[in-house]
């Protein structure tokens, strides 16, 4: 049971990490009114995919995604998981760089970005090498530190709300579903890691439903806080609407007069764990694909993370990085649909096959 809570915490933390920065911008581009419709659509699609994923995984108790693909054959692992690993490396690099950029702009304007990147990078790699147990335990720790900060950010922003800025209308028909940006938006749902944690615990749907509800509420708040403070038209031209919204808050009686600071601090905690999970996933895939021992897999983690770090270091500018980040979430959306569906179909077919064999 504790492990399920821990996995739930990881689930929430990864979503928060991806959702805090670029998520609201994409929603504002997609629609001018009724933003909640977009958020809800994205979250429901995610819920459906999680359900399919879990159903598929439960066909194979005590196996994780890689084992299942190995059952299909080595070609399946190479075909499905090699692009996945490449995507993950890119994701680590872009994630670390994007967060560093924002952290610098909030409270370390005079520090070169490679030093902050190195710090975030070392802690994540260390956690990833230590393995699943460490990740899960630290997830609770980070959750307890970051969650109050996130809540404080959300609640402190109430003082600047102008409720008339937004009307909760209804958009019909929802045109945004056909927009390619919606595909990028879908990529923010990162639940694929669940399939890598199933070898010891059996996943049940209910705890994830609770985690999913809190993530949905978080996404809604991230989208609506800048809207309530600024309104739709100014928000579209801002690079980081949520950060600007935090900067507008002035609580004179409070000893910390800079709310973005809390935002920046929570970002650090979130990105470290998110990257650790991704690196650990890479390690697991390499370990099982090449049948190496546990010690050797940590070399793979180090090798790939160094590649990611170098990649992050050489990204020339901010706009290009944000563009690439979008592409990588697009790739994530693609993998997010492919992997659960494949596993589900394979599980379904093999179960029927087994039943058929017994009849003979």
């Amino acid at each position: 049971m504790t492990q399920r809570i821990q996995i739930g915490a990881v689930f929430i933390i990864i979503h928060l990490s991806f959702g805090y920065l670029v998520y609201p911008n994409l929603v504002y581009v997609l629609t001018k009114t009724a933003h909640w419709e977009v958020v809800m659509c994205q979250c429901f699609l995610e819920l459906v995919l999680i359900w399919i994923y879990m159903k598929g995984l439960n066909y194979f108790p005590e196996n994780d995604v890689i084992d299942i693909f190995l059952k299909m054959g080595r070609w399946a692992v190479i075909m499905f998981l090699t692009p996945f690993v490449i995507h993950l490396i890119a994701l680590v690099a872009l994630n670390i760089r994007l967060h560093t950029e924002v952290i610098i702009s909030i409270f370390l304007p005079r520090t070169p970005y490679w030093s902050i990147m190195a710090l975030l990078f070392f802690i994540s790699v260390y956690t990833a090498i230590k393995g699943l147990g460490t990740i899960l335990r630290s997830s609770i720790f980070i959750f307890l530190i970051v969650f109050p900060l996130v809540l404080f950010n959300i609640f402190s922003s109430f003082i600047n709300f102008d409720l008339n800025n937004v009307t909760l209308g209804w958009n019909s028909p929802p045109k945004f579903l056909l927009n390619k940006n919606f595909c990028y938006l879908l990529g923010f749902s990162s639940f694929l890691f669940l399939g890598f944690m199933t070898s010891k615990t059996k996943l049940t749907f209910r705890p994830f439903f609770i985690a999913w509800v809190s993530v949905t509420l978080f996404f809604l708040s991230v989208v609506y806080i800048p809207l309530y403070i600024f309104g739709q038209e100014p928000v579209v031209v801002m690079t980081h609407p949520f950060m600007e919204a935090m900067d507008s808050i002035d609580i004179s009686w409070f000893s910390f007069n800079r709310q973005p600071l809390f935002f920046g601090l929570s970002l650090i905690g979130l990105v470290i764990l998110a990257n650790a999970v991704i690196l650990w996933m890479i390690g697991r895939i390499m370990q099982k694909m090449l049948k190496c021992s546990k010690g050797e897999s940590s070399y793979w983690i180090i090798a790939f993370s160094v590649i990611a770090f170098i990649f992050a270091l050489f990204i020339p500018n901010k706009t290009l990085m944000e563009k690439w980040f979008l592409y990588s979430t697009g790739a994530q959306a693609y993998l997010m649909i492919i992997i659960p569906c494949t596993i589900f179909i394979y599980g379904f077919l093999s179960k029927r096959g087994v039943v058929g064999n017994e009849k003979k």
């Binding site: 001018k32 009114t33 702009s105 304007p109 005079r110 520090t111 030093s115 190195a118 710090l119 070392f122 802690i123 260390y126 102008d162 008339n164 800025n165 937004v166 009307t167 209308g169 403070i229 600024f230 309104g231 739709q232 038209e233 100014p234 031209v237 600007e244 900067d247 507008s248 808050i249 002035d250 004179s252 800079r258």
Partner: protein, 352 residues
Amino acid sequence: MKKNKRYKLLIVFMSIILLCGCWDIKDINKRTIPLVLGISKEDGKEYKLTLQIPIPNKDSKISRIVTGKGETIASVLGQMRTNSEDAVDYSQIRLIVIQNNLAHNQQEFKGLIKFLMDSEEIPSRALVAITDENVENVLSNINDKLGVHASSIYDYFNKGAGWAPEIFSTPIWEVYRSPFLYTRDIAVPVVRSGKDTVLIFEGSDILKKGKIVERISPDEYQLINVFQNENKKGKGKIESLGFASIMITNSSIQNITSMKGNQPLVSSDLNLKIHILERKEGITDHMIQKELEKITEKRFYHILKQTQRSHTDIFGFGQQFHHLISYHELKDWRNEYYPKLRVDFEVHANME
């Protein structure tokens, strides 16, 4: 055992990296922290920046004024940093005073606000004020007044609710946001240096899409404030009616909006709780109530007419029509709907 040692080494190594993070840090006692920034433009060419910096002292009553000139604001800020003895930290600026010749130039004013908003150092919650005088005079006025606290200009705008309801504060982000909004305009307070006090409040400049349209008096603005910010009610305001003075102890407003064809309608009821401070002989409560109601209504219709003529929705009535008019039509609110708006404004004064 061998493995354990390797990890310990790694941790030691990591802490060395962490320590390097402090290489360019400057302690707070070696920083100069300006509170007020004045911006003006001389001869339409060079920007002139004035900083008011409190000097930490036992009584901390003194401050000094630093000025700099340059082509762009960023360059002046950098130049001031170069010339200062200590590291200058702009992140604590709380008030920005802009001289009127710069503020009245729409293009430059917009650019200035955008710069202040995008600047990572200057917080976007700093307040904005406009002055007709030379900015330098306004800021240095503090030093001339004996016994005035160095942060007094900032304190002036933050007396706390109810002490001076006419004064209001407008942060940068609100000024930045206002040109984008379809249905709401804002006002920026206008101040000048006083003879005996540090500042004198002169009224407020109304901004329409980032352009200053007109100036209104403090009394008029207070009425607008009641409409715009329900949480900043006009508490503690003292009104003189000629034959009596009263204090408004509480106010609440209720708006009902509707559309009649293409014409927007608002029926709005302002409830005032009053407390009579003094009156001449033979004046009844009823007479005072009626007079106050008449004056307030007259004042309101005067501003409404004025702003409808200039298509400036300073009351933010349009905000309340967001659910009645479709989003794409809201764009035309200022020009199409607002001049047609009819408001049934009624004041109900009640004795406390």
